[in-house]
C-alpha cells in the first residue's frame, strides 16, 4: 500500500558478538498508516525494542541492519547523515522506557524541552520557553514555569515521562515510537501517562508504534497489534479481533497465562519453557519447542506470515487451534 506512513519489509538486525553475529530481529515486516496506533507486543528477547530503534537507525554500534524501511516513501536505510538527522528532528520521535536515564541529569527541564525547538526549528529562546510551558500544561503539568527551572532528579518518574511526551509533541512528528513508556511507572501513573499520550496523539493525528510486554495495555490503546517472538512477528491483527480470537498459539498462551482481576484459575494455563531470542532459536518455528500444538511439520523452516480470516499469522497449524 502506497499510503502507508511506515513500511518495514524483511527487516533484519544482527549485532556483533565476538567473531560471530547475533540475530536480534529476523525478517520483520510491518506497516503503519498515518494516524494509526500499532502495538508491538512481546516478552524479553523478542526483538521488539530493537525493531523500533531500527526505524530511527538507533541500533547499537557495529550492528548490521538490512531489509527495507520506508518512511513516507523515503528509504530510511539509504539516508545520508543530514537527511537522517532531519528525519529524527521533525518526522519521527521516540519515547523511552526509563525517563530518568534518558533525560540528561545535569540540564534543566527547560533546557530539555526547548533544546530541539531552538536548535532545529530556530525558535527564539523566549518563544520556545513559552511554548514549552504550554506543552507542559498539555501533558497535565500546571506549574510549568517552576518545573522548567527544575532538574530531572527533582521530578517523579511519572512527571518525567510526561516531560518526555511534551518534548516529543514539541516537534509535532508524524510518528511516535513509544518503547515501554509506562513500564517503569506505577499502575495509576501508567493509566494517566498512557491516557495523555493517547489523547494528544489523536488530537494531533500522529501515528504511534507502542512497544510493550503488556498485551492488555496494547489492546486498550492501539488499533492493531503485532505479536513478536524470537525476533519475528508471529501474528498481526486488529486489536479488537486479536483479544477475541487470537490465531497464534503463542498469543493464546500469553493471554490465558496472565492472571486476571476478574477470575481466579485454580492453576494458570502456562507456556512451558522460557522465551528465547532470535539467535537462540533452532530450525523450524521458533516457538515450536514451547508449543502445545506443535507437530512434525513445525520443524521445517520458519513459517511465514500468511493471511487467515483477516489476520496475519505465522503458524502452519493456525487453523487447527
Amino acid at each position: 500500500m502506497s499510503n502507508d506512513l511506515l513500511v518495514l519489509d524483511q527487516v533484519r538486525l544482527d549485532i556483533p558478538a565476538g567473531r560471530d553475529w547475533r540475530t536480534l530481529v529476523e525478517n520483520v515486516s510491518l506497516t503503519i498508516a498515518p494516524g494509526e496506533a500499532v502495538g508491538l507486543v512481546g516478552e524479553s528477547g523478542s526483538g521488539k525494542s530493537m525493531t523500533a530503534r531500527s526505524v530511527l537507525r538507533l541500533a547499537p554500534p557495529g550492528a548490521r541492519l538490512s531489509g527495507r524501511i520506508e518512511f513516507d516513501g523515503t528509504p530510511v536505510l539509504d539516508l545520508g547523515p543530514r537527511d537522517l538527522r532531519a528525519l529524527r528532528t521533525r518526522r519521527i520521535a521516540m519515547i523511552f522506557q526509563d525517563p530518568r536515564a534518558h533525560i540528561n541529569p545535569v540540564r534543566s527541564i527547560g533546557d530539555f524541552l526547548t533544546e530541539a525547538m531552538v536548535t532545529h526549528l530556530s525558535v527564539p529562546a523566549r518563544e520556545a520557553h513559552a511554548r514549552a510551558v504550554r506543552l507542559l500544561a498539555d501533558v497535565g503539568i500546571a506549574d510549568g514555569e517552576r518545573r522548567m527551572r527544575q532538574h530531572p532528579h527533582e521530578l517523579s518518574g511519572g512527571l518525567l515521562q510526561r516531560v518526555m511526551i511534551a518534548s516529543v509533541l514539541a516537534v509535532e512528528p508524524d510518528l511516535v515510537l513509544a518503547d515501554e513508556p509506562t513500564t517503569a511507572l506505577d499502575v495509576t501513573t501508567q493509566s494517566e501517562v498512557m491516557a495523555i499520550l493517547d489523547d494528544l496523539r489523536r488530537e494531533r493525528g500522529m501515528a504511534m508504534l507502542l512497544i510493550t510486554h503488556d498485551l492488555e495495555l496494547a489492546a486498550a490503546t492501539c488499533d492493531r497489534i503485532a505479536v513478536m517472538y524470537a525476533g519475528r512477528i508471529l501474528e498481526v491483527q486488529s486489536a479488537e479481533t486479536l483479544v477475541q480470537t487470537p490465531r497464534h498459539p503463542y498469543t493464546t498462551g500469553l493471554m490465558v497465562s496472565r492472571p486476571s482481576i476478574d477470575r481466579v484459575a485454580h492453576r494458570l494455563p502456562v507456556i512451558a519453557g522460557r522465551p528465547v531470542a532470535a539467535f537462540e532459536a533452532g530450525a523450524g518455528c521458533a516457538f515450536q519447542p514451547r508449543c502445545t500444538q506443535a507437530g512434525p511439520e513445525c520443524l521445517t523452516g520458519r513459517p511465514p506470515l500468511r493471511e487467515l480470516a483477516g489476520a496475519h499469522v505465522a503458524c502452519v497449524r493456525a487453523e487447527e487451534s
Binding site: S44, D143, A195, E216, L268
Partner: protein, 272 residues
Amino acid sequence: MTEILVRADGLQKVFGKDMVAVDDVSFTVARGQSLAVVGESGSGKTTVARMLLGLETPTGGTISVCGRVRQGRAGSAERRRRAREIQIVFQDPYSSLDPLQHIGDVIETGLALHFPLTATERRTRALELLEAVGLTERHAVMLPRQLSGGQRQRVAIARAIAVEPKVLVLDEAVAALDVSIQAQILNLLADIRERTGISYVFISHDLAVVNQISDTAIVMAAGRVVERGPTAELLRTPQEDYTKALLAAVPRPGWKPRRRTPSPSGSPAGTP
C-alpha cells in the same frame, strides 16, 4: 480457629528524622493463609516485608511470629530459630543469588545450618528440593549466571523452603519475570502451598497476580493500610477511593486509560 503465625501490631518505621515509611500497620497471618500486601512504589510494602524478616527494626509496634514477640537484636542461635519460622524470596532474581555459589551449594548451605544431616543426605535432600521447584540435578552444578531469570527465582524459592519455614514472604517475587514465566512461578507457589500448608505474605503491586495467589489482602498507600478484606471481595467491591483508583488503572478487556482531571500540582501524591 486456625493458629495465628504472624501478628503485626501498630507497626511503624521512620527512616532518618522524619521519613515515615510505615505508619500504624497491623495484620495477622494464619497457618496456611496467603495474605497479599498491595501497594504502589513508596507505599511502604517492602519495608513491612523487611521488618517481618528482621532486616529492618521497627521504630514502633510489635511483630510476633509463632507466638513469640520479636524484639531487639538476636544472637546467632535465636536467628537460626527465627529462620525456621519465616523466609523470603526477593524481587530481583539476578542479585538474590551469590554469583560465585553453585546452585546445589545454595540449598545445601541452608540445610547444613538447620538439620543434622550427613553430606550424602544433604545432597539428596538438596536435589529433592530442586526437583520440587522444577529444576534437575544438571542445574545443581551450575552457577547462577548460567540460569535464566525464572530458573533463578526457582532456586531462590527452593532455598527458602529448604529450611521448612512456616511463613514465606514473597517480595514482588514475580514482578521482574516475563508473562509466560510469571504464570509458571505462580503455579509453583500454589503447588507448594497446597503440598506443605505454608503461609504466604505476598508483597505486590499487581492486582491480577494478587487475585490469583492470595485469599486476604491489605492495600497500602503512603505507609498506611487503606483497606483490607478477603481478596475477592476487595477486588469486586472496593470501598475506598484509593483501591477503586488502583483497580480502575489495571488494563483489561474493554479498558481505556483515563486522565484524571489535571490536578493543580499535576503530580500524584508523594512527589515533591
